[in-house]
């Protein structure tokens, strides 16, 4: 069956982008193939591992489960948008300092989930961190240093606020 492709407009990490793609193409594949943003990963294709996590209109979603048509007009944030120029995002700094990334394949999705968590809850408890990251599987770290990284980033943000 040959179907009509759709003209999709999205804002990706603050910049406009347009693509002509089949409407049932996964947002994940549009990001990786059409927009060349390979930071977002596919680990399972079932919405279980979270390595494809991005923020869509400010909400964390698994991009492997979003048909791109439903992202038309949306504001998408991926790992590539976290650092501003040469300045790492506090979460990225914290992951480096605390050892939150080992093999790194879950890291982009984990960073997006952590970004979402801290946006909603700037000083999360450990149990809130566990819940916020429960949709992102990491097979290397056992999660301990990921928790440490989020706590450290939250503290860094707090200091930044206090410094003002």
């Amino acid at each position: 069956m040959s179907i009509c492709w759709s003209a999709i407009e999205i804002t990706i990490n603050g910049e406009s982008a347009s693509v002509q793609v089949p409407p049932m193409k996964r947002l994940l594949d549009v990001l990786r193939e059409d927009l060349g943003l390979t930071g977002t990963k596919e680990g399972c294709g079932e919405g279980e591992c979270g390595s494809c996590s991005v923020r869509m209109n400010g909400e964390l979603v698994n991009s492997c489960l979003v048909p791109v048509l439903q992202a038309d007009g949306a504001r998408i944030e991926t790992v590539e948008g976290l650092a501003i120029d040469a300045e790492l995002h506090p979460l990225q700094k914290a992951f480096l300092e605390c050892g939150g990334a080992q093999c790194g394949i879950c890291t982009p999705g984990m960073l997006m989930a952590a970004t979402q968590l801290l946006a909603r809850n700037p000083s999360p408890s450990l149990s809130e961190i566990r819940e916020g990251l429960a949709g992102n599987l990491c097979r290397c770290t056992g999660f301990m240093k990921i928790f440490d990284s989020v706590i450290e980033a939250a503290a860094m943000n707090g200091e930044m606020k206090n410094a003002r």
Partner: protein, 755 residues
Amino acid sequence: MSASPKTRIVGTAQIRKEGVDKVLGRAKYVDDLEIEGMWYGATVRSSIPRGRITGIHFSPNLPGIDWSEFVVVTAADIPGKNHIQMIAADQPCLAGGMVNHCDEAIVLIAHRDKRRLPAAVSGVRVEYEPFTAVLSIEDSEAQREIIWGDNNVFKQFHLEKGNVDSVWATAEHIVEGEYHTGAQEHLYIENNGVIAEYNEEAGIKVWGSLQCPFYVHKSLMAVFDLPADKVRVIQTETGGAFGGKEDYPSVLASHAGLLAMKARRPIKMVYDRMEDLAATTKRHPSRTRHRTAVDKNGKLLAMEIEIATDGGAYSTLSSTVLSRATLHSTGPYVCPNVRIHSKAWATNTVPYGAFRGFGAPQTIFAIERHMEQVAKAVGIDSTEIRRRNFLHDGDSTATEQIMREPVILDILLERALEESGYHAKRKAFAIENANSAIRRGMGIAAFYHGSGFTGSGERTLNSLAGIDVTVDGRVRVLVSSTEFGQGTNTILTQIAAESLGIPYEDVEMAPPDTGIVPNSGPTVASRTSMVVGKLIERAGRQLIAALRDSAGLGELYSTQDFLTACENHRAIHGTVESLCRYEAPPNIFWDDRAYRGEAYPAFAWAVYVAEVAVDTTTYSAEVTNFYAVQEVGKVLNPTLAAGQIEGGVAQGVGYALYEKVILKNGHMANNQMTNYIMPTAADVPPIAVFFEEIPFEHGAYGAKGIGELPHDGPAPAILNAIQDAIGENFTSIPLQPEDIFVRLAFVNAGEAVEA
């Protein structure tokens, strides 16, 4: 105990060498890469566990499928040998006549548009004459069907020490037990994948997610009948491995290479999760039987152990996994009389392979569960049975290896008990459990893990590694040891920087490319820090010595001074390169036939404590706290080392309570992440990690191996804790709520309950 010399960089928490790219999302894994003109490959796999292929048909009139657009490869297209060169060469690259397991590769297809491939794969119809399949260890042992060799046995070992038979008649207590461990999937978050390129002049070039570039290199030479310099293997950033990318990439690289050869264009083959789960290697299932004699004080008099592993359809790594299983099966204890029979059996299932621990988690589960039952028979507690039997300095093991390095199990045990609050908690739990639906308990496991290859393995590997300095001033570590999260890049550059006396930031890794780096052996067996690191340490010292000797390098120097001296050296010698070859520590004698002598050059030692809660309403067991105490020689990087322990413990928790491979007729029925369950961030217990350090002279800056140790202890500690909590002896993992339910219902009802 010698004091460790002060180090500037080794022993500190340097930032992960490739960490910035990883947190930026810039690190390129194989599926992030593209080559101009690349097509995509897919695999047609067997749907039966055993049989003869009688026909292969390509369905005509499939919507959207024009077979003339596809490249098709079968066994007939293989230019060299149709086998994957591992220890033996019994595994075909592609099934030609017989298939011996479900999901065995039969036909490869490639197309420009990867979206055509799934329908095309479904459109290849294979016909079989099915044979009776052997699907369990017991089936294989029965030898009604011979599916491999002349008796289904890939490998066997027999080890004798002292005279076991002299003891049974007079021992105060004899305790028997049988223990089972299930298969376990690595579940690296990045699936297997490679890109292959082939042309007549250059040969074959492969990029891939892999642990051992030279293993793949060797396999490709055989499949393509090419000399070493016409095969090139490059590791891409690898998203987790755990042993699952030790041998399997040789299979995948061969497949992609064959398609690349026939298609005359680059080919990418990346598995999706369903295919990776179903078709690639997993941990060997095992059965271990113990018969143990102790005196009235619980001192071990004799151990008779029978080990059986399920190797799957082809031998691959089953002999070495069996070896390690055998050598770790007696636990960290003194026992004067030991007999071990072990066999690796063939079954018609996907070949089992390497997985963190490599046989040790299986048999350590057995011995540490068994010691609990021995303690109960004697009437002493879990800590005392261990104290009375621990190895100490100067004691000898089952292979009669004398412990020449310090063994501090007593100290580790005391520390583990103290850090975990073991005694106080057990007292409190005993009271609380009486009135609560939640029953809590504490369990211990004591164990060692041999660092490096067994016996003469390291000598055979004969690793070569070193350091070079390029003309543009880049100081590079030259190894084929790969990074896949465990920290290879970081610790090896730390070691190089330390031994060269320059900053950590000024050293980098040479690309993991068989065309550039020497063969420092595979990245397995907890050998990278200790063995390969030592070569780098020596290479650094060697280079500095040479530069001081004849290139004008002074006592104190900056990086710039160092580089200037390097250029002086280059002017004379043409290159600036310092390579070192493996040197065995003295007193390593290993008799491979009698299985006697120095099994490993060094051991890491550990005592782990698990705290569990069993909910008697839902029959679920959860780990509520975990304490990991270990002696690992010098800790090269505290953040990375703790990260290894935490990650290994989490996998061990999964092995014990969550991860089950469900096979239906030899095919993994739960081959989706929704049905193969690993613990999430909401499930993992708090994991407390403690290190003791006794520097090992022959390891880099005193380091011993660390990567696999943490997967050995959790499962028995957890089931020991469950026994403490509810008084039931479970002998099989994974232990799931349904299993606990059946046992408790049986106990309550006093009669068998249908499971």
